[in-house]
């Protein structure tokens, strides 16, 4: 079984986000970039499937400028077998990315596509579902457990209010939620080995996809600041404030 995993290069999880002074975008100059945390979980899950003997090959793909090769090398160091970069400008919209990923999935005849449920920059939570729709594959989003057997994936999903388990026929798309696994760290020898693993560069034309979007950004602003309030000295003072000042407790 072949597993395809998509990875996205995003602002590092721990970096404080700043908006550009002209309110055109978030300032990404000289900011640490890393693999999107949900994509890390996706890579980990694919590698575990390979270690269990369920998957034979793990292919990672990223859509973006040359700098995303760094993210692909990270995935290779974690255990993926080979990588594909689809060379485009950065920041394509989800539908364009989905069309490209669907093209790669078809090309590779991937049996299972594992993706992060959302990226922590645009917070869209849509690319996996779109890939599945474009390929007419079933999907299991927000996965917290994935069991692959007999040509199907049994996936437990984190839904509002609890968990849901679905069985989907392969080929299929799975998107990862936080508790699916705890990603490993790459060891130094594996980082060195990753430099020799194959990394192919493709273009949207290879998949017959025209990228573009009908959505434009009007402005990006910082969120309204919340002013700090006061410290209270005791529980009774707190209750008094909540009853008589804020009037949120009767």
């Amino acid at each position: 079984m072949k597993v395809l995993v998509s990875v996205k290069r995003v602002i590092d999880y721990n970096v404080k986000v700043r908006v550009k002074a002209d309110h055109s975008a978030v300032d990404l100059t000289n900011v640490k970039m890393s693999m999107n945390p949900f994509c890390e979980i996706a890579v980990e899950e694919a590698i575990r499937l390979k270690e269990k003997g369920v998957a034979d090959e793990v292919v990672v793909v990223s859509v973006g400028s040359k700098s995303c090769q760094e993210t692909l090398r990270t995935a290779l160091a974690l255990g993926a077998d080979r990588a594909i970069q689809v060379e485009t400008e950065d920041g394509l919209d989800s539908l364009s990315v989905a069309k490209l990923l669907a093209g790669v999935a078809k090309d590779e005849a991937a049996d299972l596509i594992i993706m992060g449920k959302q990226s922590i920059d645009s917070d869209n939570n849509q690319t996996g579902q779109m890939v599945a729709a474009l390929l007419d594959y079933p999907q299991a989003t927000f996965a917290s457990e994935v069991i692959v057997e007999n040509g199907e994936a049994k996936v437990t999903r984190e839904i509002d209010g609890g968990l849901q388990t679905l069985a989907i026929t392969l080929p299929a798309v799975v998107t990862t939620d936080l508790r699916l696994n705890e990603p490993r760290f790459a060891s130094l020898p594996n980082i060195m080995k990753a430099k020799k693993k194959p990394l192919d560069v493709k273009t949207p034309a290879d998949f017959g996809v025209e990228v573009g979007s009908n959505v434009s950004i009007v402005s990006v602003t910082p969120p309204p600041e919340r002013a700090a309030g006061i410290k209270v000295g005791s529980v009774s003072e707190l209750v008094d404030k909540l009853k008589n000042e804020a009037k949120v407790v009767s």
């Binding site: 404080k16 986000v17 908006v19 978030v26 989800s94 539908l95 922590i120 920059d121 917070d123 939570n125 849509q126 690319t127 579902q129 779109m130 890939v131 729709a133 079933p138 999907q139 989003t141 927000f142 917290s144 999903r157 984190e158 839904i159 509002d160 209010g161 609890g162 968990l163 849901q164 388990t165 679905l166 069985a167 989907i168 026929t169 939620d177 936080l178 508790r179 009908n214 959505v215 434009s216 950004i217 009007v218 402005s219 990006v220 602003t221 910082p222 969120p223 919340r226 700090a228 309030g229 006061i230 410290k231 529980v235 707190l238 209750v239 404030k241 909540l242 804020a246 949120v248 407790v249």
Partner: protein, 309 residues
């Protein structure tokens, strides 16, 4: 201009997030139609037809729609999409699961987690976990949008008198099969719909200690939440998580107990009207957003607070 809203329900009752989504639809302007797809969901259809601002209910009542599987619900929506300028769903796990499939099948973009309607083509949505707010404009022929419930007031669930149109399409889902569901049984309000939320963090020390919050939650009719740190430590299940990677809440009162206030947590609760923080570390960042901060050991303060309410 007509707007189609996909109703969120459990075949028995209409979920509150649907009402907030209808308000967003009304702000865009035009006839608002509500699609109820489910199985043996006649009570939901009856509720839907009474919602103020809804002019038509489309009902698709068939066993194939019982579990809201994205594959066939998306095809059903696309099947009835013609003539609609906007298609909306609440940004719940169900809406987020289904609507991007609709957008892709219609070959248009989706705008996720919209918190404000500027005009019929311009919308506001948080990005970077709410650390930046983007205003976006779409020229797509049909705008596909998920709506964050906390950004809009709920439409009145009484006063409407919508006609019902029964849809005959039966679209089976052959590649996806429902196996089971484990829903947390709770008498408490749903986290995202509660007017009071009390959340515990790593400072709670253990899952057992979360019981300390029950008394206050009972007295205030509050939902119980948690920080990611408490979830990661295994104290409570993930569906209680408030934050960037969990749920976004904006109650009238939010009480953070033993929560330091990581950016990731603040992203999920900083739009609450009144925030109370109880933490023994006076330098905890949570105090920078709290209206009322109490520097105290939660194991003393929480029982005392419970008694004085």
């Amino acid at each position: 201009m007509s707007i189609l809203v996909l109703a969120e329900h459990d075949n028995q009752s209409l979920k509150p997030a649907t009402l907030n989504t209808i308000t967003a639809a009304s702000q865009i302007g035009g006839d608002v139609h509500l699609l109820v797809a489910g199985f043996e969901c006649q009570t939901v259809i009856a509720q839907a037809s009474k919602v103020a601002g809804v002019s038509k209910v489309l009902s698709a009542d068939n066993a194939v729609y019982e579990h809201q599987l994205a594959e066939n619900i998306a095809k059903l929506v696309v099947d009835v999409a013609e003539g609609y300028s906007h298609i909306l769903a609440p940004a719940t796990t169900t809406g987020k699961n289904t609507l991007p499939r609709v957008a892709a099948l219609l070959d248009v973009a989706q705008l996720s987690d919209v918190i404000k309607v500027e005009s019929a083509d311009t919308f506001v949505r948080p990005i970077y976990a709410g650390n930046a707010i983007a205003t976006v404009k779409s020229s797509d022929s049909v705008k596909v949008i998920t709506v964050r419930a906390t950004g809009f007031d709920a439409a009145a669930d009484e006063g409407g008198d919508a006609q019902t149109e029964v849809l005959s399409q039966v679209i089976a889902s052959e590649k996806s099969r429902f196996v089971s569901e484990q829903l947390a049984e709770s008498d408490r309000p749903e986290l995202t719909a509660a007017s009071v939320v009390i959340s515990g963090g790593r400072g709670m020390g253990s899952g057992d200690n979360f019981k300390l919050l029950d008394g206050i939650a009972d007295k205030l009719g509050a939902a119980i939440g948690a920080s990611r740190a408490a979830v990661d430590a295994g104290f409570v299940p993930n569906d209680l998580q408030v934050g960037q990677t969990g749920k976004t809440v904006a109650p009238d009162l939010y009480i953070a107990v033993g929560i330091s206030g990581a950016i990731q947590h603040l992203a999920g609760m900083k739009d609450s009207k009144v925030i109370v923080a109880i933490n023994k570390d006076e330098d905890a960042p949570i105090f920078q957003v709290a209206d009322y901060g109490l520097v105290a050991d939660l194991f003393d303060a929480v029982p005392e607070l419970e008694k004085s309410l």
